[in-house]
Subunit: 240 residues, 2 copies
Amino acid sequence: MSAKPFSSVWTRARKGGREQGLSRDQIVRAAVELLDAEGLDALSMRKLGARLGAGATSLYWHVANKDELIELVMDEVYSGVVVPEAAGWREAASVFAYAMRQAVFDHPWSASLIGVVPALGPNALTASDRLMGAFVRAGFEGIDVDYAMTAVVSYTLGATIPEVAFISSLKASGTSMTELQAAVDPIMTKLASDRPNLLERYQSYAQQDFDPLVARRLAFEFGLMALLDGLGTRLRGVSG
Amino acid sequence: MSAKPFSSVWTRARKGGREQGLSRDQIVRAAVELLDAEGLDALSMRKLGARLGAGATSLYWHVANKDELIELVMDEVYSGVVVPEAAGWREAASVFAYAMRQAVFDHPWSASLIGVVPALGPNALTASDRLMGAFVRAGFEGIDVDYAMTAVVSYTLGATIPEVAFISSLKASGTSMTELQAAVDPIMTKLASDRPNLLERYQSYAQQDFDPLVARRLAFEFGLMALLDGLGTRLRGVSG
DNA sequence: ACACTACTCGCACACTGTTCGAGGTGACCT
DNA sequence: AGGTCACCTCGAACAGTGTGCGAGTAGTGT
C-alpha cells in the first residue's frame, strides 16, 4: 500500500524564486498551448520541455509532478468562466453555464479532466464565489444555497463533458458526420432491434437532416431552463 | 497527422471463435476485477495477462487494443443500471439516476471515463431505451423526448462524476476527512479572503459537523427533484 | 497425412514519469 | 575580492507502458 498523503498544488506553499529562466506561469502557458494544439495524450514532460527550450527534468523544479501541472493547467481553463458580480441568480447561473460550456469547448482536452481533478485554484474559486453570491442574494437560505448551486454546476458539467468528448473524438479521428452514421448504422439496426424506442428515434433522425451540433445546443438550453425553473419554485416556496 | 478512422468495439464485427482458452468475456471480467481492486492506473495489459495466466500480447487476439477493452469494461458498468420497463417517467428517471450513481460508486475508476468513452454497448443502449420509453409514454413529443432525457442523464453524470472522483481520491491517498480539512484550511482562509461568499459558507461548515457524504446525497436528491419538476411543467405545457 | 484456422507469446521498439546527483550561476556577506 | 549558499538546469538511468511482428502450437475438417 503506497498511500501518499493528500496533496494538491494549491495546498503547498509556493517557492519564492528569483524569477529567471523558466517560470511556473511560463510552463503552464506552454502546456495549455501544447494541449490545445495536440490534445491530452500529446502532453509529455519531454515534449513540453523541448517546446520551452529546456530539458524535461528542469520542469520538476517548478512543478512537483505531472498531476500538479495538470491542476494548474485546469485552473487556466476556469479563467475563461467569468460570472457577473451583481446579477440576478438566473442570469448568473445562465452566464456561468454557457461560459463553462464554452471554456471546455475552447480546451477540449479538459473534458476528460474536469470533474476529476480537484478545482481549488484561484480562478475556479472565484467563479464559485460569484455564483454562490448570486444564489445568496436571491434568497436561497442555509444549505439550499449549496444544493441549488451544485445542481447548476452538475448539470453543466454533465451536459458539456460528453458533448465535447464526442465532437473532439470525431475531430481527432477525422471522421465526418456522415461517415460516422455509416459506421453506427449497422450496429444500430442490429442491436436496437429489441430496443424499440431507441430504434424509432434513431431512424427519425436519419431522415431529417437536423444539424446535430445545433440540436445539442438546444438540448443544453432546454435542460438548463427546466432546472432553473425547478430551482425557482423552491426559492419561492421558502421566501413567500 | 495520424488521424485514424473512427472505430469502436461496437462498430466492428466480432470474430467467431472456438471459445477455448482465453475469451473476450473472461478478459473483461478479469479487467473489472483488477480495476475494482486497484484502480485505473493499475490496469495494464501485462498485469491483466498475468492475472489470467497468459502472456500480455495474447489479449490482442481478443481485443483490438486497450481503448476497446475499456469500452467493453465500461459497458459492464452500465450493466448495473437497470431501468424498470413499465414505470412513470418520474419514477423511471429517478431509478435511472440513482442506479447510475450507484454503478459509478461501485466502480469508482469509471468516474474518469464515463462521459468520455463512447457508450454504444448493449447495456448502455438498453438503459437508454428503457428511459426513453418512459418519456415517450409520458407524452413528451418530438425532439423534447431527447431533450428531457438528455437533461436527466446530464445532471446525473455531472453530479456523480465529481463526487465519486473526490471520495475515491481521498480513499486512494488514505486521507481522512479531518486531515483533508487541515490541508485545505490554510488555502481557504488565504485565497478566500476576497471571496466572501465562499469563505462564509466554508466557515459555517467547519463549525457544524454535518457528514459531507450525507450532504452530497441530499444535494443529489434536491437537484434531481428540481430538474424533474422543471421537466414536468414542460410536459404539462404541451399535453394540456 | 495434410492443410488450415485459431490462437499464444517472446522479443523489440519507442515512449512514458520521475529520481538522483553533478554541475552552474548569480546574489549577498565579510 | 573571495567565499558561501540558495536557486536552478539537466543528462543518465530506471521501471514501466502499449503494441507490431513473426515464429510457434494445437485442434478441426478432409
